[in-house]
Amino acid sequence: MTTNRIERHHYDVVVIGAGGAGLRAAIEARLAGKRTAIISKSLFGKAHTVMAEGGAAAAMGNVNSNDNWMVHFRDTMRGGKFLNNFRMAELHAKEAPERIWELETYGALFDRTKDGKISQRNFGGHEYPRLAHVGDRTGLELIRTLQQKIVSLQQEDKRQYGDYDARIRVFAETTITELILDGDRVAGAFGYRREDGEFLLFEAPAIVLATGGVGRSYKVTSNSWEYTGDGHALALRAGANLINMEFLQFHPTGMVWPPSVKGILVTESVRGDGGVLKNSEGKRFMFNYVPDVFRKQYAETEEEADRWYTDPDHNRRPPELLPRDEVARAINAEVKAGRGSPAGGVYLDVSTRMPAETIIKRLPSMHHQFKELADVDITKEAMEVGPTCHYVMGGVEVDPDTGATIGQVRGLFAAGEVSGGMHGSNRLGGNSLSDLLVFGKRAGEYAAAYADSLPARPKVSQALVDTAVDAALAPLSRDGENPYTLQQDLQAVMGDLVGIIRRRGELQDALVRLAELKERVAKVSASGGRRYNPGWHLALDLRNMLVVSECTAKAALEREESRGGHTREDFPAMDPNWRRLNLVTSLEGDEVLLSRKPVPEMRPELITLFDRVELSKYLTDEELAGFDALAEEASN
């Protein structure tokens, strides 16, 4: 049975997380010849990435040859309201096509264009059709492909060394609870196996975090139980910084009915392919919510919007395709104004816009999902949708080129949703899957290089391991509160007080309540034993959720403007001065510290890709003067 024995493993690179980012990082580290471990909380191939639907953005120009990395870069920056780390956005736009093509050599089968290339589809915020996709199960294709690539590497190793696990091994259903440091260097990761509750210690000089997001802290979310912000919290505790934690994306169209599926996503491609949003009066309300910065790109009449689907070159796009934050806010406003559906959402309708066969062909898994989960036939009736917590833009602050975390620790890398900066204040749909591939690869590559560069392996001290064991076992022997109640309370605080629309008073209140919860969580208890005990697992996750929530609340209180995934009712406008600042949180002892850090300035050749009129909406006068000087220089 379970003991306090600790299973020890030695690896060169340990990747925590088996989603798109983690798997891509592991593949790269293995290709660099490193002994690599992949650790995942759930089974292999079940990570959150499977749920991504719409597609992966990459400017391959297969459908519209006007597309290129510069346009993609522009769209990304625009979508993130210019708060993005420009270097990440640049690398992302440049490297995404290669990463997608690479997947084909691993066996991926994307939908095709007539001439046999990868087909691309329209998506909110992208100027051209850009999302490589497979029906509406792109994430599944991505993760399965990477999973199968890993299998193929294992088969190679088996042939060479006689053992599948010789150089790359997957530890499924294993949760990391603590990173072990040697001074300021990463030395290992400590965790438990869910199946039997046994402890494991991975000794490794380089660790890549790819643990995804934090959505489980919210009541209405498209995220699964895995998304408890573990990576964020591990990084904080190891001494790394988080940035932009105030920016959470609320996906505008989550299901709101029936209650059991509340939060589950209705993919954006429903709108990209012609679905429209209507309120309870049957009106297409999005035309009333086009903000000034987007006025030029979006249609003003229904007729023009409808023409766009067939003739995008000569018409402007329908306002349903505005970036997610805008749509989410619009829906929120409609519901508040009393024009919502009975379940508190609005209607998303494709049934009147396309013949049933087209809908089934284009949106097979949506059709399937609604039919089976909600007993709604989307070819006949409208869906009821509303905003749902979907993605965290913020995350571990990393060096754009290498994915190394910035802060007090070396040897720690981060990629995917857990890292921050790439998406600025708001992520465009489809940019995440490509982000996973681009930065996953980079993190794997540089983690391998870092492991090589070390003269000696860092050492794991037994004392730290013992502390980690005690912390992990504590909830089992305590007599305290039920973790499920605590989780519900936390979700209530975050959902009600740090939700889509935020106010100073509520945020302050939230901080007080989070402090109370912190004390309660310190005393949480789990009944039962160590074998596959979800209560115990949740009890251990709670502390991560809490510290990450605190970062979000603190940063949200600090940022006194509205931008992307952060809307303050008391500061409804975007403020160019705030654009120049990132909010950075770090941990000292138990305390969350908040500091401000300037946003890196774009290189001249990148900033000149933009229109002055557009920039003037985002930049301060001082910055604009700088831009004018550049423009003048260029024209001379």
Binding site: L43, V50, M51, E104, Y484, P534
Partner: protein, 337 residues
């Protein structure tokens, strides 16, 4: 609002267990997984159950509900009668871990044994061109969410533990079919592999896998039967053999590739020869299939055996002559030293 419903949930581990009764509240529009979660939050905090997406996309929440293999998150409570008892048990085919969680390692082992996609040697990333009609068949199989319900329901292993060694199960038949139908896969022996290594012959096409597949993949009609037919092409069909002889340019032999690698698990490319010219790191073709019966004997009569002529002592997968590229032997270029 909610009504009380009667649930029976199997609780236990490898030392035994039984069905336990619970009265639990159920609200309109809920699915079985919601009820399991409510049990966890109220009456049984340590009730073990897997789940991730709650939207039928990840294939984690496989369980048996009233004896039928289902996804917990896709089984609406409204499909049961008001007063019906709902019985929830773990998958029966795999070793039990605890409560509703089973050890599905079997599937990952089989996945690892199935030869991976072999990229065409002459195409760089970005140069792949495929027509939609050509990828559609394989795309159907790639919808698989790996819930392993088909693996669980298949009587070949469900009722016969001893077959687990020889039988990969429907999930991996569709994987083999997917690759065999992949327009650019460069490996030619997928059908032979399916027959000889995956145990395609064990399947008696009773279609339970198709019945339970939550993705509605037509596993039997579109993968297993076509694979069986492809095996027939190779082994039995006289007309196909004749046609192959007459029209040398046949699509059946995979597009312009050399004959399939020696062993089914063999690499499609080999590591470079070592300094002495000998490829030490490659595996020698070993008598692999050893098509023996349970008593370890080669069947004597053709009649009782699945192919014409006596089986090769080198196994099913080795054809002679071996391509020289694949030999370990290296001809010395030093003269008489």
């Amino acid at each position: 609002m909610g009504t009380k419903r009667h649930f029976r949930v199997w609780r236990g581990d490898e030392n035994g267990g039984d069905l336990q009764d619970y009265q639990v509240e159920v609200n309109e529009g809920e699915v079985v997984l919601d009820v399991i979660h409510r049990l966890q939050a109220t009456q049984a905090p340590d009730l073990a159950c897997r789940w991730n997406c709650k939207a039928g996309k990840c294939g984690s929440c496989s369980m048996e509900i009233n004896g039928r293999p289902r996804l917990g998150c896709m089984t609406r409570m409204s499909t049961f009668e008001e007063n019906e008892t709902v019985t929830v048990t773990p998958l029966r085919t795999f070793p039990i871990v605890r409560d509703l969680v089973t050890d599905v390692e079997f599937n990952y082992v089989k996945a690892r044994e199935t030869p991976a996609f072999a990229p065409p040697a002459d195409l760089e990333p970005g140069e792949y061109r495929m027509q939609q009609v050509d990828v559609e068949r394989s795309q159907e199989f790639r919808k698989c969410i790996e819930c392993f319900l088909c693996q669980n329901v298949c009587h070949v292993v469900r009722d016969h533990e001893e077959n687990k060694r020889a039988f990969s199960g429907p999930r991996y038949f569709i994987r083999a079919a997917e690759l065999d139908m992949h327009p650019l896969d460069a490996k030619g022996d997928r059908k032979e592999y399916a027959q000889a290594q995956q145990g395609l012959g064990y399947c008696n096409i009773t279609k339970c896998c198709t019945e339970v597949c939550p993705e509605h993949i037509k596993i039997t009609d579109n993968a297993i039967i076509p694979m069986k037919e492809r095996v027939v092409d190779r082994r039995y069909d006289p007309i196909v053999k004749l046609g192959r002889r007459i029209f040398r340019r046949d699509q059946l032999e995979e597009q312009g590739t050399r004959p399939g690698p020696l062993l089914a698990q063999e690499p499609s490319h080999h590591a470079e020869p070592g300094a002495d010219g000998v490829k030490w790191n490659r595996q020698v073709a070993q008598g692999q299939a050893a098509a023996v019966d349970e008593n370890g004997r080669l069947p004597l009569s053709e009649f009782t055996f699945d192919r014409a002529a006596a089986p090769s002592p080198f196994g099913d997968d080795v054809t002679f002559p071996l391509p020289p590229d694949d030999l370990n032997y290296h001809h010395s270029n030093k003269w008489d030293t």
